[in-house]
Subunit: 345 residues, 2 copies
Amino acid sequence: MNIGEIAKRAGVSRSTVSYALSGKRPVSDETREKIQRVIDDLGYRPNASARALANGRTSTIGLVFPPAGDHYTGMQLDFIGSVVEAAAAYDYDVLLSPSGVDSDRSFQRLLGERRVDGAILMEIRLQDDRVDHLIAENFPAVCIGRTAQPEGDWWVGLDHTALAAACVHYLADLGHRRIAFVNRPERLLRAGYESAHRGLDGFTKAAAERGLTARTYDCGDDAPSGQACVERILHDDPDTTALVTLNEAALGGLYRGLAHAGRHVPRDFSVTGVVAARWAETVTPQLTAADVPAAQMGRLAVELLVERLDHPDAPPRQQLLAPPISLRGSTGPAYAVGPASPGSA
Amino acid sequence: MNIGEIAKRAGVSRSTVSYALSGKRPVSDETREKIQRVIDDLGYRPNASARALANGRTSTIGLVFPPAGDHYTGMQLDFIGSVVEAAAAYDYDVLLSPSGVDSDRSFQRLLGERRVDGAILMEIRLQDDRVDHLIAENFPAVCIGRTAQPEGDWWVGLDHTALAAACVHYLADLGHRRIAFVNRPERLLRAGYESAHRGLDGFTKAAAERGLTARTYDCGDDAPSGQACVERILHDDPDTTALVTLNEAALGGLYRGLAHAGRHVPRDFSVTGVVAARWAETVTPQLTAADVPAAQMGRLAVELLVERLDHPDAPPRQQLLAPPISLRGSTGPAYAVGPASPGSA
DNA sequence: CCCATCACGCGAACCGGTTCGACGACCGGA
DNA sequence: TCCGGTCGTCGAACCGGTTCGCGTGATGGG
């Protein structure tokens, strides 16, 4: 069922069939209809590999996701879903590539073997050899997140620094003086994950600026780790009255840890952070948080990539998002707790 | 940077390079090393489209996911992740296809245009035209889930009937007499989703068998819907003492609804169901549930598909899983509550 | 009436691999 | 010395599209 077969049955040449389909050259109404009838009869569809070979475009974009491998967070699901849908709207397929265990290998598959026209990278690190590599090759790619030197690159990112700082200021305004930061796992921090680093920076600086007592913690991407993390926090400083987190997978565990410690949210303890709305709403009380607009970011990334593919020489474009904090029920004014606090301020 | 270039620089013919790479015909050590050196120098990788065109295999499998479009649940993420990783182990890439808005179109893209060698389907319906279509075409596919007549097909599935029944029996053994079932959204039920239907069946039959008073509810795939659903349940029958759910996205909302109604889990009210462990652990108290082994199912689906691809005439294989109920903290013995109960039994 | 123009369609080359048949060199045995 | 068989390599055809240059018949203006 190839184009030659169609041509034969329609009594025309292969090239005429091709032109009738692509419209790149005029074809008389009569022949076009004749061809179309044959195509409809046989249910013909042009072979994607042959087309890709001939015109050098695969109509596929690669989605390179976490070197994390073991654990996926809900945010990533939203990214994937929105990227796939946005890509479909532009007639692109999405090829998933785990840069997991053997990141080079799958990278070579995507780029070296020309399986994709362009790529979207998730889970960016401040120093990211994947990004360096792509820039060096001038390969059309868009990052979800940005490296330490993001100037000349294409990306859509979240201003984690500002968002974490906003959370701190919000808590400080409520009167909290002793707060904690619950970050992603140490492994990711060591690897240089940008959200973990920029969030930590924003938190630390804002806390210093407001003269708060602040501690920072790493926490595994799961509920039990979150619970354990709260135990550490309250052990290290029982007077802590609030926490900020980027770790949505640990959120349920954080709440459980607080409940077990007898801290009522938000009466005794406030929780906030940077989390996708869907997940902020699963906990009780619902989390006051800067909502990660994951779906929007995925869509934007595709739009940028399509622009880059259509205009290979276009100047780099970026989108830095900083969603506002959505007020829900997990934060409240700080009250003096325990014997140590009255003396402060 | 194509095979001809390599051949020229190594001073051999294109076919010799091809054989040196594939090993399908003997090549002298000397020539092979010479070729390999050139390849390493230039960083050559064979073009995937050309190769696919020539040998008819794309080394790509399609992952067809939900017509749900708007909402993704955590389970799906686990499926996707495990499928991608398992596929990578067999040297397959994964092409994501949203059978969302326009299921036919993307289906045609995958199969008609020969973008993939085989496919894995998620979110199966009891009557599923996608599956019928694939079977009719004898296209190599494996379903995660099964249709109403699954005999001759390839699939890995979860025994939702048995699992939902096991939850009912477990609750009945604890003394619960009035229970509710929280299903997926009505839209999915109407569409014929197998998990929703088989789960509902198992629940209903087991409840009848045990002589329980049982009500069933549809519930949106999000926390607010879960909360509203609990309100409906307690409004319809305030003496309800337990619920069974398949709806992991609503889980957090179910807990919130119970908390707002003043029901303490598990003292006043037991909750159980069929939910992936990761999500069962995010709520407090952690959910006693049959853990959906999503990662295992994804892996199995890939293994079955690879077998089917390697042996086109192999007889269909299936895997029906029925994980045991993991005891956590969300269930307990039933006590007489409210004025209406004492008369029962 | 003749030639320039145009619309339409054809054939061939090409994209970059794989694979098959053939061929020359070299070997050992008769 | 000649012959048969292996081993290693080559050239050509093929996979199924796209695209370029050209030919042809119809059309119309001078």
